[in-house]
Symmetry: C2
Subunit: 429 residues, 2 copies
Amino acid sequence: VPAIPRVELLLTGNELMTGDTIDSNSAMLARYLLEHGIEVQRKITVGDSLEELAAELTAMTARASVVIINGGLGPTRDDLTAVAVASVASSAIEEQAAARRHVELWCAQRSLPLNAANLKQALLPAGAHLIDNSVGSAVGFAIHIGQCLVLATPGVPSELRAMLAGLMEHIGAQLGALQPHPTLRLQTFGLGESPAQQLINEHLPDWPAEVSLGFRAGAPLLEIKLAIADPAHEALQQACRRDLYALFGDHIIGEGETTLASCLVALLRERGARVTTAESCTGGLIASLLTQVPGSSSVFEAGFVSYANHIKQDVLGVAAADLARHGAVSETVVRQMAEGALRRSGATYAIAVSGIAGPDGGTPEKPAGTVWIAWGGQHSIQTTCLLWPAPRTLFQTLIAAAGLDLLRRELLGIRAVPQYCRLRRHPRG
Amino acid sequence: VPAIPRVELLLTGNELMTGDTIDSNSAMLARYLLEHGIEVQRKITVGDSLEELAAELTAMTARASVVIINGGLGPTRDDLTAVAVASVASSAIEEQAAARRHVELWCAQRSLPLNAANLKQALLPAGAHLIDNSVGSAVGFAIHIGQCLVLATPGVPSELRAMLAGLMEHIGAQLGALQPHPTLRLQTFGLGESPAQQLINEHLPDWPAEVSLGFRAGAPLLEIKLAIADPAHEALQQACRRDLYALFGDHIIGEGETTLASCLVALLRERGARVTTAESCTGGLIASLLTQVPGSSSVFEAGFVSYANHIKQDVLGVAAADLARHGAVSETVVRQMAEGALRRSGATYAIAVSGIAGPDGGTPEKPAGTVWIAWGGQHSIQTTCLLWPAPRTLFQTLIAAAGLDLLRRELLGIRAVPQYCRLRRHPRG
């Protein structure tokens, strides 16, 4: 084992080579390993070809201390990882009793018949150690090829995620004591990557070299990452964190795995309050995001998707005259949608949205991307009109996020106008 | 140049190695190349290290006919692609006049000062041919290293996309006339990958070698891909397609980019019908999936998220006595939810769902994963009870899909009971 451990990833799957699947697993692995102090030096991706897999694995195991294979553990004929590993390790392929029990149990729990395809997943290289898969039928496995530890992991992201801790046990045994790289991840909404970088450059020119700053732009959140290579620099890291909160803390939703919905559910629960939704162009997405959070039933009881005007009238009590006079995408209508949802549900707070997701339905005055949002409690409903043109589902994602964020800000008593409301304000709103 | 061209991708960037960026560029390249009949055999990803880049490039150019490098063309110090290529090609690095003009023009158009960082982007290996970048400051370039064509492309996705046609000119000159690979993609719901493979093995033992069969397991759809390397085999491909429709055609939603929601929206539109939703455990996801489809407003007017019992009563008219007697997760309640949504909305069809998403809320008789689904029109509501335990958001995804699929089957008059209803039937349902 070399002094600086060399860790390489071998990703396999025809769907990766054809571009049908975008690989997010290697990023998940790399982030997890990095937090444990392990850098990935190299990734190789090949299709479901026994020769390619075996050739890469032979070359990789000759120089790396750890190789993690992802993919190819499934039940079908083109899942070749176990066979490829066995061939490079000069091992036999054999049914492992514990793996068979896992497959049997997995099928039994789901009332699935145990077929030859499933049983193939119990065929592993002789001498391989099982790594448990708590959410899928394919077990992972660990085996040494020469000095190199080879770990085989499933390609289904949720199964890989569930296996990370099991992998670390083997990696820890191979590499010995590791220096973790403590990492803080601040989740922000409403700041672009380049404005965030610009703000930091301007206001925090003395950023310490020991704290490395990274951005990960997702939709809708931008993650800001503060990593240190040596735990001795934790005080510096905390100072940077405080600086970022001071600089744009109202855009920081939370840390770690926090999402806008999980943050809002927690805030509502703390207050013993409940929220309802009245959605037009977001079509139920806000309700869906809230109800994805475990335990959300204590803060969310009812949501209304009122696409058509007659539903806005009949179910939410929006005045027909206002619909006729101002149109569905208007301040008075979105306000009445919020009020109606509050009345109907008895909730404490409401989020209401009425806009034009496009691609069709826009007018010169209200082009696609126009949206009215209302949020707040019975006697404190606020509204804003944004113009945020984007492809349909991205628009829905961004506007649902904005609705959740605006109520989050209200609950926290944040008075600052968020960056996106300044930048995306509708010229006629 | 070998008879079968070998095309490899070399991706570079520390953000790819740390997992902060998920690589979508290689998928974009692979899909584009495949449409032009070119398979990518191998992808290698390394960080911004001159030694790693040069070592990989040396090995790749020795055996590939085309290597496409992505990333490392930016203005910063850690962008090393031009230097690495020059070193492997034994070329000098020199300012190219056309590249300098591009950078100058790009800066002038944006009123940006021309600085050393930008001018670095005009330094290219001697003998490299420029590839125009219509949307960014970094030009791409093409150069031969031995027999191998090396193409360097920018890491910003929009810039790479804008450069694809320019790349193809060089690749076409290198590889000569190319044969496109016609591919059929069948989208299925409710068949697992392993049951699908098993059915094909059993019923279609004479599957022709010329038609390669691939699976892409997503949640909730399983894509079955039929690819041929030679357009002369198109009749065989069509025969395989017909065989699959005969074998499990009721599980085939459609082809290409079809989703359950887009399929259902199209079926409803053909019939001039509308659908409404009454959702408990799926929390608005069915409504959200439907409204993600452009033009869905013509078939979807209203959805109800009735998490709490009093909402089921007040908004949907479910009888309090039935809620008390049978519980919210029961046949009579889910049926009344569907009826109430139909009444409230005036829609032709309804999908209603009441279940226990978990992780909490289950009982021994109705554990997490228990769900009643109702679907159909005013006088033809059907119901089923499934037991489909899965992590919360996956459960919601699967049950929303099942609801959409059951109505799809109803609209198409499919009488066969889907595989998932047979396998997941609740023992007490």
